[in-house]
Structure formats: C-alpha cells, structure tokens
C-alpha cells in the first residue's frame, strides 16, 4: 500500500512538471500541474502515515537508473517516512495556494517554468529522506537545490533576488562538496551505500570520525540554517515566491535536520559528549541569533526567515541534548530529546507554512512587503487576519496551540536532564534553559510586532489602504495548516504516537509519554492537558464577555482618544522599528547599529534646515567577519589565476600536454 502511494506521489510530481511545460493553455497548465502536485503530496502523506502506523521498513533498488553512480536505492523506514510526511504536509497547502497566487503568470513562459520547477522541487524533497545510497541522496539533494535556486531567482521584479540566489547557490554547493567528501570518508573505500556505511562506521578511526562529523554538520547545518552558515536563508527565503518560501522554510531546511539525524543517530555509533555539547551550543546560538534579528527586521518575509533560523536552533537544542544523553548512556532521555526535536520539526513546518502563505497573501493584497508600509489590514483582509493570528500565536508558543507543546516539552527536557545527570552539565543545561526561555520570550515580542504592526491600527501607506482580500483558494489553502496548528496543539498525542515508531526504529527505547489526550512525563512528574486548558480558556472568555455585555451602560463609537488633537493620523502610530527599539538598546552589542544623519540645508544659510534624514541600520558583522575575508580571498585567487589568461594561443596549446602529464603522474602515484 505504501509502495503504491509513494509511486503515485513521484509519478504525480513528474507528470505535473511535464504538464506545466506542454499543456497548451497557460491557465490549464497551472491548474493541472498544481493539482498534480497536490495529489502527489496527498499520496506521499498516505504513504508516510502507513509506514509510521505500521512501523514498516522496505527497500527498492534499481540498477538501471543512475547506473554510472551505482544505481538508485530507496529505503522507506519510519524516520524517512516522518520527513516525507513533513514535505507532504507543507507541499499540499502550498500547491493549492499557488493556484490563486500565480494566476497573473498564466500567459508567460516564466509561469510554466515556475510550476514545473515546483513539481521538480517537491519530487526532489520526497526522494531525499528515502535515499539509501550516496548516489541517490546526492542526486536528489542537487535536484532540490537547483530547482529551488531557479525558483528563488525566478521573479525579475524582486529586488535582490539575483544576489540572494548567488549566496544560496554558492553555499549549497559548498555544502554539497562537504557532503561528498564526508560520504567518501565514511565509505572507507567500500560501496557508497548507507547499509554498508552503517555496518562499517564502528571501525572508522577517530580522527576520520571527527572530520566526517564536522563536514556533515557543516553541510547539513548550512542547509538547515545553523549559525554561522545561515546567511543564505534570510536572503533566499524572502526572494522566492511565497509558496516556495513556505516549502523552503517548512520542508527543505528540515531535510538538513533529517540528514543530521540520519548520520549522527543512524549511521554512526554514539559519539563523544563533546559533539553533543557542540550541537547544543550551536542550537542555542542559532536560536538567539534568529530571534534577535527577527525582532528587529522591517521586511515581513525576512522576519519569518529569521524566525525559521530560531526554530531550527530549538530543534538542534533537542538534537544536541539527545546526542549528549546517548553519549552518557541514558537511552530514555536521548529518546525523549529526539522526540521533542522531531515534534518541533513538525510543528514548525505547520505554522511556518501558514505564516509564509499569509505573508504572501498580505504582499499580494497590499503590494508592499515592508512592515513599515502596512497597517489596518484586519479590516481589509479579515479572513487572512484571523488565519495569520493563529500562525502568530503558534509562533509565540502560547497554549493551547502546537508551538507551545514542543516548547513546553523542550523545557521539561532540559529540567529532566539537569536533574538526572552529570555535574559536568550543571552549568550547561541551566544556561541552555535560560537561553531557550529568553528565545521564547523574544519570539513572543516578534509575534506581537508582526501581527500588531501589519494588521492593526490605521494603514501607513496608500497601498495598505487599498489592500484587497486574498482569493478564496488562497484562503482555503491557509485554512489547512491553521487547522493543523489547532489540532496538533489540542491533541499532541496524535503526533507523539507516530514519533514512537521513529525513535524505536533508531534503537532508542521510548518511555511512555502520553495518556490519551494529555502529555505525561513520568521522569519529571509533570503533565499537560491542552484540551482542558483550552476549555478553561474558552469558558473564561465566554464568562468575561457575558459579564461585559450585561453590566455595562450605553455603548457608542467615537474617534480614538489622541489627547485632543484634531485628527488621528497614521503618523502617530508606533512603527515596527519603534516597537523593537527597547530591545535594540538592550542588545546593542549584538545588533551593532549604525546611524547616518544627513541634513538638507537651505542654500542661503546652513542654519535653515529644510530636512533631516536618519538612516539606521545594523552592521552585518557575521558576514563581515566570516564571509568577507573568504570572498576577498576567492577574488584574489581568481585574480591570480587570471594571470594565466595571457591571450597567447601557444600557451593555451601547451597547457594540454602539460595537464596530461600531471594527470599521468597523479595516476601513477595513486597506484
């Protein structure tokens, strides 16, 4: 059953790609290819759930495809199926959404290309979690990277898309090279198949093991968005069309997480605690970086991109914790850590999809993508506002939505770890807990700022004033992840039960984590019953509303109290930059703000000032310290290499036998 569903999924995506290019009418091409993508995602969802429910595991091989590289080998196990589920859960709403979102591209070839690439992207992402040998994995990885790169640069009117695409392309291919090197080292000269690597990993010399783990962390971490390799993410995600951004943030970065889990938990034996500690520290640093930038960014989609970085950090905190516990031999806590990380992966995929789709609807309706230009959209886009509020509350991790469940579990995890283990962790885990709590608080600030500035009060620009509601299909597409947020929040055991299969398949014993509708942690003796909390909140709100209705005197509507001024204007509202100002002052060492003040004076005298312009910005110190030297070095090297291009054809002809000589010498030396 799952075989058939998976085959259907891949076929549907392939068919969608082909139909997008060949179908005669542009509108028909859009409808058919996106419907095909949606059908493919639904089939993938069915396949994934079947595998998870039944804890199945099956393989499929074909020597015919990719023959020079060793053939295609797929293995469907619960871990791969879970990430397939995440791709499906993100892809289905995104494809429905694109039906309405990309209607304006119907007559252009670019539209067909975007739909075809979308299908290819989905297909690549479906194959990556199922790959069982290096060839399949890297092939699907590269398909995923190329198609997403082309989608990122697909909009010629998007400013900065080309530069964003360049950053993305360079970093993903650097990651590809690191992956290739790591897999070759891990293969130790044998066949580059995952089962062989799994069997032989125990015999890997420790130095090699260290290099392999470092390279894989760098490659998968870069794809996931770990600091300091995250710099492509806030550039590329906002430049892509919104449904593609949703897929990239919801599914593609999770495949970096998948790669990390597959290698560190499945292929390799338990590593030393230092690696676990390093992953935990990287996770904390990533979470803090992501949330601090998301609080201060004015661009709507960049806020969401940095928030993705923050949540990836939280996922890696869970993973680092699991690695640590595994190194110390505490299987139960390691299992719990892995479950929490995977649960947050799913929860984040759901609410980030919703938020990116909502951001797309806002940009589509209000024609502006900066928070400083929005406002008052709750009256002009009422349905989008409600859906966005659900996503924003999940982002802020408040009960009873799904963001809160995984955050609560992360807290419990760190408390349980601090209680049960070595004194060596006596400093590390409390600091990690404090950092995660700070991240949670700052995420709430970012959420309030996002929703409050964009949707509430008065419109700040004309384009926001003339905003129109998103088409019905886009709203329907957003309803799916919104319902997912609510259901996963109220009944978290739905997801936790599936994760039991994943974790036990990886060899970690799973303690009982739930009783029916409540989450129970026997290790720490605490319980969470989201449905009861939701019922209590609902009852309280209803009683409060009833009291307000019955007891009041006359009600009338009047202008806002603005201290007696003549008129209320949008200039009086708080701006997005102003909202984040206190935090920018507290964390000024992190933001490194720069101020540029220029005066426009009257030509007659410098004492008559006509206008003052203040330009406030952040110094991109991460790029400046880490990337600018690399870029400069690369430029210098290529400058030096340019010296070889003297223009003399005799020299170029002499290169041919010279290269042949060098290759013969190398071949001789290898032999």
């Amino acid at each position: 059953m799952s075989e058939a569903a998976l085959a259907t999924a891949l076929t549907a995506c392939a068919a969608g790609a082909v139909l997008a290019m060949v179908w005669p009418s542009g509108a028909g091409a859009r409808r058919l290819s996106l419907a095909s993508a949606c059908a493919g995602c639904s089939a993938a969802l069915v396949a994934a759930i079947t595998v998870l429910q039944g804890s199945l595991s099956w393989t499929w091989r074909s020597e015919a495809l990719l023959q020079p590289l060793g053939g295609v080998s797929l293995r469907v196990d619960p871990l791969g199926a879970f990430f397939l589920l995440i791709v499906a859960v993100t892809g289905a709403p995104a494809s429905l959404y694109a039906l309405g979102y990309l209607r304006h591209l119907d007559g252009q070839v670019r539209g067909r290309a975007v739909h075809a690439l979308f299908n290819v992207f989905l297909a690549g992402m479906c194959v990556v979690p199922l790959a069982d040998n290096v060839a399949t994995f890297l092939f699907a990885w590269e398909v995923m990277a190329l198609s997403s790169y082309l989608l990122v640069v697909s909009d010629p009117e998007q400013e900065g898309a080309a530069a964003a695409g360049l950053w993305y392309a360079v970093m993903t291919h650097a990651g590809f090279l690191a992956l290739l090197a790591a897999f070759v080292l891990l293969g130790q000269g044998g066949p580059l198949e995952f089962p062989a690597m799994r069997a032989g990993a125990a015999t890997l010399p420790p130095a090699s093991q260290g290099v392999v783990v470092l390279l894989l962390l760098a490659a998968f971490g870069s794809k996931a968005g770990l600091v300091p390799l995250h710099v492509w993410l806030p550039r590329a995600h906002p430049a892509a069309p919104s449904h593609v951004s949703a897929l990239m943030s919801g599914a593609m970065v999770k495949l970096g997480v998948y790669g990390t889990i597959r290698v560190l938990f499945d292929l390799m034996p338990p590593l030393s605690p230092w690696w676990g500690g390093a992953v935990l520290a990287l996770g904390v640093a990533t979470a803090l970086t992501g949330v601090l930038y998301s609080v201060a960014e004015p661009h709507l989609k960049r806020v969401l991109a940095y928030s993705t970085v923050e949540n990836i950090g939280l996922i890696f905190v869970g993973l680092g914790f699991a690695l640590l516990m595994r190194a110390y031999g505490n299987g139960v806590l390691a299992a719990m850590g892995l479950v929490v990380a995977l649960l947050h992966t799913l929860n984040h995929a759901v609410f980030k999809t919703l938020l990116f789709l909502a951001a797309g609807a806002v940009i589509h309706g209000a024609r502006t993508s900066s928070l400083e230009g929005l406002g008052g959209l709750i009256k002009r886009m009422p349905h989008t506002a409600v859906l966005c509020l659900v996503g924003v509350l999940a982002l802020a991790a408040v009960p009873p939505l799904n963001g809160f469940t995984s955050e609560w579990l992360t807290f419990q995890l760190l408390v349980a770890g601090a209680r049960y283990t070595e004194p060596a962790l006596a400093i590390v885990l409390p600091l990690a807990l404090a950092a995660v709590a700070l991240v949670a608080g700052l995420a709430a600030v970012s959420a309030v700022r996002l929703f409050g500035i964009a949707f509430l009060a008065l419109p700040r620009t004309d384009s926001a004033r003339d905003a129109h509601e998103a088409p019905a299909i886009m709203r329907a597409a957003m309803l799916l992840p919104a319902a997912g947020c609510i259901v996963l929040g109220l009944i978290p055991t739905l997801a936790v039960a599936q994760l039991t299969a994943v974790v036990s398949d990886l060899g970690l014993p799973m303690g009982q984590l739930d009783t029916g509708f409540a989450l129970v942690l026997p290790l720490v003796g605490s319980q969470l019953w989201p449905i009861a909390i939701a019922a209590l909140l609902g009852a309280g709100a209803v009683v409060a509303a009833a009291v307000a209705q019955t007891s009041r005197g006359p009600v009338r509507t009047d202008t806002t109290w603005n201290c007696g001024r003549i008129a209320q204007s949008p200039r009086q509202e708080y701006t997005a930059a102003a909202f984040a100002e206190p935090l920018k002052r507290v964390f000024t060492g992190f933001y490194r703000p720069t101020h540029e003040v220029s005066l426009d004076v009257h030509p007659v005298s410098p004492y008559f000032v006509r206008g003052i312009t203040l330009r406030a910005d952040f110094a991109p110190w991460m790029e400046q310290t880490l990337y600018t030297p690399l870029i400069r070095a690369a430029r210098w090297v290529s400058g030096q290499a340019g010296r070889l291009q003297t223009g003399s054809i005799h020299l170029y002809l002499a290169f041919l036998p010279g290269a042949l000589l060098v290759l013969l010498l190398i071949a001789r030396w290898i032999r």
């Binding site: 008052g376 509350l393 802020a396 408040v398 009960p399 955050e407 609560w408 807290f411 419990q412 760190l414 408390v415 601090a418 209680r419 006596a426 409390p430 600091l431 807990l433 404090a434 709590a437 949670a440 608080g441 700052l442 709430a444 309030v448 700022r449 409050g452 509430l456 009060a457 409540a518 720490v524 003796g525 605490s526 319980q527 969470l528 009861a532 909390i533 209590l536 909140l537 309280g540 709100a541 009683v543 409060a544 509303a545 307000a548 209705q549 009041r552 009600v555 009338r556 509507t557 009047d558 806002t560 109290w561 603005n562 209320q568 509202e573 708080y574 102003a578 909202f579 002052r585 507290v586």
Partner: protein, 313 residues
C-alpha cells in the same frame, strides 16, 4: 469535598480576594505617606462603578479590542486555577505545571499588547513595546527559578513542589531556596508592573508600561482588565508564598485543615503585601533602560540558586 469543587473554590478565593490585596497595598502606602487613604475595600467600589459605566469604542479599533479583555481574564483565571492556595492537593496539576502557568500569563500579556496596538495611538504602542520587552527579559529568570525549585522537588508540577517541601523542610535550608525566592520576587515585580519597574499609580504616559496599553478602554472592559491585573498580582504573591514557604497549607481535606490553610495563605499574603507597600514607598521608579539591569540581577540570583542546588544535593 471533591477535588474539582476544591479547585474551583480556590480559584474563586483568589479572584474575590484580588481587589482586597490591591486595596490593602494602597491603604498601607497611604498610611506610610502620612495620609488616611481609602480603606482596603475601595477597589471593590471602583470596580462596581466601572462595570456600570458606559463604553466608548474607538473607530480605529477592530475585534481584537473586544477580544483582549476576555482573553486576558480567561488566561489569568486559568493560571490562577493552577496555583495551590488553601490545599496542597492540586487537581490543577493535571492541567499543567509551572511552565504552563508562565505561558498562560504570557498569553494574557500578548493580547494586552495587541489591544494596546489596536487603537493606533502612540501611547498604546509605547506601552505594548515596553511591556513585551520586560516580559521577554523576565522569562529567563522565571525559567531558572522554576528549575531550581524542580531540582529539589524532582518535578515542575506545583502540587509536587509544595508537598515535597512540606515533607522535607530541610530542602529550604541553604542559600539556593532563599536566592530563588529573591529572584522570583524581583521577576514578579516586573511581571505585575509594580515599582521599581512600573508605577501603577502614575498618570504620566511617558512613564507608563501597563497603564499605557489600557488608556483606550472604558466601562466593563476596563474593569475586567483592572481586575485581571489585581488577580495576576495576587496569584503571583500566593505562588511565591506557597511554593517557597508552604507551611500552614492544608494537606488533608478536613474542615479544620482547610480553615488553617485559608488563614495561613491570608497571613502570608498580608505579609508579602506589606513588604510590597514598604518597598514601593522606599524606591523610585527605574528608567526603562535600567530595568534590564535589574532583571539581570534577578537572573544572576536565580542562576546562583540553581547551581547551588546542584552542589547541595
């Protein structure tokens, strides 16, 4: 008395006592300022009057404005349902633990901030921005204070913490417990908007944090928000007293034990409220940009408490 009835009664006790706690603090501050002041029942009269007033809804607001008071009240009541007041047997433990309580309080804060941004006034935006900043910066302190409690009690569940401390009072001896209590109280001042973080009696908008967000509310909505703020103060004071100094709380459901528990919690509330009034008379309000320094001090105290718990185990 079944646990559910007990839990509802406890919650109602907190809800009904909340304005009296605020009234007592105001009365004591008045006496310390050398004036007679209103008696401690004055907030009830204020609330009764405000509930009966008319309401004016600003035309720039949306349904968020109407939703905010309901959500703030609901989240504060839900948080109050988790607090052990009279009895140590806590049916609220099945709902959630200390982290859930903090999250419920943040839910109320988030909606209050949205309600402040909704009318589109500068003061509302200022209040929302400052409130969210202070709330975010108190999170680490509260998390580490919860951790230090959980390290000795073995759980983050409120009933378990209370019961463990009652059965092994030796845990309370040592610097960790006192440091955690100090850190918790400073964080509580920030969460509830009392001096030195925020002056609840100010009418200068540039010095407001909590008050600025409710400037646009009137009538029953205003009364609900004021009462929810009083309830938040009361529940955090009760939490401080019953988690750190639980002796006197009822461990059985007999009438005598419950009466003693009620008397004990009232006495502890009175003591903490007295200390709060004395503190508010002694200190002046901090500049907003000095508040993070105060919160950093409380965070350091909490971290010291947590690490000392490790070494005394």
């Amino acid at each position: 008395m079944t646990p559910i009835v007990l839990a509802v009664t406890e919650c109602l006790c907190l809800a009904i006592a909340a304005p009296a706690v605020v009234g007592y603090v105001r009365w004591l501050k008045a006496r310390l300022q050398g004036r007679r002041g209103a008696d401690f029942l004055q907030p009830y009269r204020d609330l009764r009057k405000t509930f009966a007033k008319g309401m004016i809804i600003a035309d720039t607001t949306s349904w968020i404005f109407h939703l905010t008071p309901c959500v703030v009240v609901a989240s504060t009541v839900a948080a109050a349902a988790l607090v052990p007041v009279i009895s140590a047997s806590q049916p609220g433990d099945q709902l959630g633990d200390l982290f859930a309580l903090m999250a419920l309080l943040i839910l109320g804060t988030i909606f209050l901030a949205l309600g402040g941004l909704d009318p589109g006034t500068a003061f509302g935006g200022m209040g929302s921005s400052r409130e969210m900043t202070v709330a975010a910066l108190t999170e680490p302190t509260l998390a580490i204070a919860i951790l230090s409690l959980a390290l000795t009690a073995g759980s983050t569940s409120l009933g378990t913490i209370t019961n463990t401390l009652l059965t092994t009072p030796a845990n309370a001896i040592g610097p960790g417990h006192a440091l955690a209590l100090a850190a918790f109280l400073i964080a509580m001042l920030a969460e509830t908007g009392r001096l030195p973080v925020d002056n609840p009696a100010t009418h200068l908008e540039l010095t407001m944090i909590h008050e600025a967000m409710i400037l646009e509310y009137s009538g029953p909505y205003l009364a609900l928000l004021e009462w929810a703020a009083a309830l938040k103060l009361t529940l955090l004071l009760t939490l401080a007293s019953n988690l750190f100094v639980p002796w006197g709380i009822a461990t059985s459901l007999s009438a005598g034990a419950l009466a003693l528990g009620l008397a004990a919690v009232l006495a502890k509330l009175a003591l903490l409220a007295t200390l709060l009034a004395v503190l508010e008379t002694r200190v002046a309000k901090l500049r907003l940009f000095r508040v993070p320094e105060l919160l950093a001090v409380s965070f350091t105290l909490a971290l010291l408490a947590a690490t000392s718990s490790f070494f005394t185990r």
